[in-house]
């Protein structure tokens, strides 16, 4: 079983990329589980034809941990992909990080964490230990960073490198940086910049995803590109990503950059 986690700045396209990756992997014949680990709970929406599925934390809040059953937290979406949303507290109260930990414990107890590939779609900022949960021992060993060529997006990706570096130093930890995915914003020399960033943090560019209107059109139709326009060039990009993810064996301990170096890098490619 392969377990991969996608991290990146908020709004960078983690959920879109995760859903399209899951769809592409599923179409290639793999049994996929996608887990949304963001209290915003919209990770699996495109796989569920636009439906916001009940979250694990919603069920726990209403009934308590004891009365939730495995069949209630897993929803089957496009092409048999199993979808789970962790959910969390209302914005501004409680502890979302603990919510992620509690969700993982429940999924472990239910034996939900099975399949050929588990895709963890995680909140952009590893703000506390709870959001590093998918990187911990026994969960995702391959972390993909999603970024555009914008400085703030690279900055967030660089921060996640710090988290991977810290966690990989723990005994028995097998969490590694597996690659950088560029979700382009149509900036000049964007692919070059992100590829160079990937190299500097001791990784490589796994996939360049061009900005394409087919993504917005698919979302308006509440579908992934894979489902909505399977013949499009964009769908092929996601299938390429899926192939590379499955073939990837280059897992590294990242070397995060200092902010000054990151800025200098961005200026270099301006």
């Amino acid at each position: 079983m392969k377990q991969i986690a996608l991290y990146g700045k908020g709004g960078i396209g983690k959920s879109t990329t995760s859903a399209n990756l899951s769809a592409a992997l599923s179409c290639a014949g793999y049994d996929i589980l996608q887990i949304g680990c963001d209290p915003k709970r919209d990770s699996t929406r495109m796989l569920m034809q636009g439906r916001l599925i009940p979250t694990v934390m919603d069920l726990v809040r209403v009934r308590g941990t004891e009365k939730v059953t495995p069949s209630e937290v897993v929803y089957t979406g496009f092409n048999g992909i199993r979808c789970v949303e962790a959910g969390g507290p209302e914005p501004g109260v409680g502890c979302a990080g603990r919510g992620i930990i509690a969700t993982f414990q429940l999924l472990e107890k239910f034996g939900t964490l099975t399949g050929d590939v588990i895709v963890y779609d995680v909140l952009g900022d590893v703000v506390c230990g709870g959001f590093a949960m998918p990187m911990r021992e026994g969960y995702a060993q391959e972390v993909y960073l999603i970024t555009s060529g914008e400085l703030m997006s690279l900055y967030a990706a660089n921060n996640i490198c710090k988290a991977i570096l810290r966690l990989s130093a723990r005994p028995k930890s097998r969490c590694r940086l597996a690659g950088v995915i560029c979700n382009a914003k149509n900036q000049p020399r964007e692919e070059e910049l992100v590829a160079e960033f990937a190299r500097r943090v001791n990784s490589n560019l796994t996939q360049f995803i061009p900005r394409d209107r087919s993504v917005q059109l698919a979302e308006l139709n509440r579908r992934t590109v894979i489902e909505h326009e399977p013949e499009s060039a964009q769908a092929q990009v996601y299938r390429d990503l899926a192939t590379r993810v499955m073939k990837n064996t280059h897992f590294t301990i990242p070397t995060p950059l200092e902010i000054e170096d990151l800025e200098a890098l961005a200026i270099e490619f301006m």
């Binding site: 934390m57 726990v60 809040r61 308590g64 941990t65 969390g88 507290p89 209302e90 109260v93 409680g94 502890c95 979302a96 603990r98 919510g99 509690a102």
Partner: protein
């Protein structure tokens, strides 16, 4: 010395509870997991038993669960407060714990919404770096908020007695004896076995006497609020009493000369009573942990010409330094028993 190895070291929450549980008509709500309350309940109950006092501390836990931590504990606290207020206590004290201050429950907001019964918040999360004493001080300052504007009554408050201390009542008796020698009487013991209504008169006293200098922040606060001057500590050992009488008299504008002369006679008579042990050799494997206590033992030994040596007879020393000549007398009685055993 290991940190947290003595009775008055430890968690901020425990410190605050030694104060709030002594307001007999109030209920203390500990907002946190059940264990924080259970552990402290046991400690307070067991220590009271040790001090020959059978009491069940009036404590309630909000019993925070993991689900409450994830979704926020304000609702749980709100419901717990409603239940507690229904019992019509004189006051409700709400103490926070590490986890609720970590997740950021707005405890003050929940408490402010309650009317009819005073609901006071005391911040007590231990992980913020405070000690047991921080909890005591935070609790005393919060409870001082229940004092009402009131005319002076010329009496004296006793501030911050160590309620876990074995000799808490004996020490109080000694201090009130000394006050009465100067014609002064005690207003309230803030806080030892009193009701929430009695706290109203806190500001009426002409002088506050702090149990020890760690309460100076409380003394300063009360001075600020009520213009009441304070004496920073109870009189310690044989040399503490006279300066204590002098400073109390000075603060109250009383002539202490006769009282001091009488007390000097009492001190000297008391020490004469122990002439039978003079010259003996003593040792202690458990000398008081604080330097103050060690000085008292050395003072007494010097006056009675006792030799402190490892080969001497082991004598018990109180955990905290003896207060006044009465405290010294009790210590010497124990020494005599040990020497004659």
């Amino acid at each position: 010395m290991l940190s947290n190895s003595c009775r008055s070291a430890g968690c901020t929450l425990t410190g605050a509870l030694t104060v709030t549980t002594h307001v007999s008509d109030a209920i203390t709500v500990v907002h946190g997991p059940g264990g924080c309350t259970h552990h402290n309940f046991s400690l307070l109950h067991a220590t009271s038993l040790d001090n020959d006092l059978i009491t069940l501390p009036p404590l309630i836990s909000t019993g925070l669960s993991e689900t409450d931590v994830i979704f926020g504990g304000e609702g749980v606290l709100d419901r717990a407060l409603d239940t507690v207020i229904e019992r019509k206590p004189g006051a409700v004290f709400v103490l926070s714990t590490c986890i609720v201050d970590t997740i950021g429950d707005d405890v003050g907001m929940v408490c402010r919404a309650k009317t009819g019964t005073p609901v006071l918040v005391i911040p007590t999360a231990g992980f913020l770096g405070g000690s047991f004493q921080t909890g005591v001080n935070n609790a005393l300052i919060a409870l001082a908020g229940m004092a009402e504007p009131i005319r002076g009554n010329g009496r004296v408050n006793i501030i911050g007695e160590k309620n876990l201390e074995y000799e808490v009542d004996e020490n109080f008796t000694e201090v009130s004896r000394l006050l009465s020698l100067l014609g002064l009487s005690v207003n309230i013991r803030f806080v030892h076995d009193l009701t929430s209504h009695q706290i109203a008169t806190l500001g009426a006293a002409r002088l506050n006497i702090l149990r020890d200098p760690s309460l100076i922040p409380v003394g300063e606060y009360l001075k600020d609020q009520f213009k009441t001057p304070y004496i920073p500590a109870f009189p310690v050992g044989i040399s503490g009493t006279i300066p204590f009488l002098e400073s109390v008299a000075d603060a109250c504008g009383i002539d202490p000369r006769q009282t001091i002369a009488d007390e000097c006679v009492l001190i000297s008579e008391t020490l004469d009573d122990f002439a039978d042990i003079a010259g003996a050799g003593i040792s202690s494997s458990s000398f008081p942990l604080d330097p103050e206590g060690r000085h008292v033992v050395q003072d007494v030994a010097r006056v009675l010409r006792l030799e402190i040596a490892p080969s001497g007879c082991p004598v018990p020393v109180p955990f905290t330094a003896p207060i006044g000549i009465a405290g010294v007398r009790r210590m010497l009685h124990r020494w005599r028993r040990a020497l004659h055993a």
